[in-house]
Symmetry: C2
Subunit: 289 residues, 2 copies
């Protein structure tokens, strides 16, 4: 027998490298803390759960994110899109009678998966932060783009934009050129225009060639490369999405870069508070369980 | 005073990781050897030149490739495209009165550079292996695509297709999936079709998602990824090039993958003997000096 999460419970947004714990009381966030205990740092998940209960209260616990993957506590199956809060609540994986993991969402064709982002996406609608029919973007290592319809996740696409940037910065021909901080200036905007060509492998070599020909300082190369990668991601998505506005769930720095890319295509961009969206989503799932 | 290369000289195709020495006699290759002494392994280039003369004969020496870069013996300037054999011969960098380095070729807008490939490209025309007006491809770590006009290099584009594949195989999310050998089968062809979308960052994440959803065996993932990268390179190039035929300078394995990608676009692909093209090019440059 499983219990309802009721008025007081703990919610955990438990990702690969970070974790955020929310104490939920009366449908609101009473307290929240963020730390670096992502799933890759944890060996004994039961002990971690007990530790969180020791700190926040001995309460039912609802977990989301990579904690439900094969590198997490236990693998929760994916719910196929289209999916809403009801499907997520129905698909909870119960660890014990007061501890559950929210399932991820999958897209069959083209193949795609998400785990953790679904709570933010649906929570953003639930909280009234975005309309029920909208295009949402969650920039990051793996940028998620979700088409919401009737308040549910209709379909989505993941682009490994952030990971490609990290790989290029750390390894290979361009690494030595890409050490500078990224800033939203002319070099980034030049990169956006180049990215719109959607010819990544050639545009990337151009970063090297521009250096050899003295056409761009290495101080600007990282910003150009970031613009190139974000620009090609945004161009590919907006080529098929007709929305006038893209709602961005991200911190202001990365969100601002995506907003500039979206505005360069003549669309509007709006930044949404992503922890607030997560809280609204997990509270809504808890109230259904 | 510099001497002519005359009827007997040594030609060296000296790249980053490999080197090929040709003994040229009477306008033909009398003997050739390949080894792993690329420029990154060499500290004393003068000593290496003396060693090659000890083995092949105390002859004038004409060098091409990364030996003329800032990681080589001495940096030879780039000759701007359009460029032909005459410009390369005029632009030789003389180390001493019987040792010279062939310059690279640059493209101003978009910025691009080559070093070593120019000898192959022009040599392929010189030897009659390809027409003087043609599209040539040199697949590899950095794939060169050259538009030849009137037997000269009119313009060119470099795509870091091979390097991206190597980065993804060695690091990051997909590395564990991409260990298998690449083969020219259905998975490679599926990758070609995906690559034609020119949405690399999203298509790459799809490799991960297909695994999570059980849609593709990891045994096929490397072939799919290779098809994806080669397919997006070829799609970007053929979108702007009208040639019915692409002439490929590469070994048969990699050349065969590019040929399949080109044929999937309804164009013809022809493999060209690239060492023969290099020899013809360097003999022609030597005869002009």
């Amino acid at each position: 027998m499983v219990v309802s999460f009721g008025a007081r419970f703990l919610a955990v947004d438990w990702g690969t490298t970070n974790r955020r714990v929310f104490l939920i009381e009366g449908g609101e966030v009473a307290r929240t803390e963020r730390d670096g205990k992502g799933v890759t740092t944890v060996e004994d998940f039961a002990a971690e759960a007990a530790e969180m209960r020791g700190r926040f209260g001995d309460l039912p616990m609802l977990l989301a994110g990579m904690v439900g993957s094969n590198i997490g506590w236990r693998a929760a199956p994916y719910v196929p899109a289209p999916a809403g809060l009801d499907e997520l609540a129905d698909g909870l994986l119960w660890i014990d009678d007061r501890t559950a993991i929210v399932p991820g969402v999958s897209n069959a064709a083209p193949a795609d998966v998400m785990r953790g982002e679904e709570v933010q996406l649906l929570g953003a609608v639930e909280a009234g932060l975005v309309p029920g029919d909208a295009l949402l973007a969650q920039p990051g290592t793996h940028c998620k783009w979700a088409e919401m319809a009737g308040g549910r996740i209709h379909s989505f696409t993941t682009a490994m934009t952030g990971e490609l940037f990290a790989l290029l910065r750390a390894h290979g021909l361009l690494a030595a050129q890409l050490g500078a901080e990224v800033s939203l200036g002319p070099a980034f905007r030049d990169g956006l225009a180049e990215g719109a060509k959607r010819d990544l492998a050639a545009s990337l070599f151009g970063i090297r060639a521009a250096r050899m020909l003295g056409q761009r300082d290495d101080a600007d190369a990282a910003s150009f490369a970031s613009g190139l990668l974000i620009g090609s991601d945004v161009a590919a998505r907006l080529a098929v999405a007709n929305h006038d506005t893209v709602h961005i769930l991200a911190d202001p720095a990365l969100g601002g870069l995506y907003a500039a890319a979206i505005e360069a295509h003549g669309r509007a961009a709006r930044l949404v508070d992503s922890p607030a969206a997560f809280a609204a989503g997990i509270i809504a799932i808890g109230s259904r369980s």
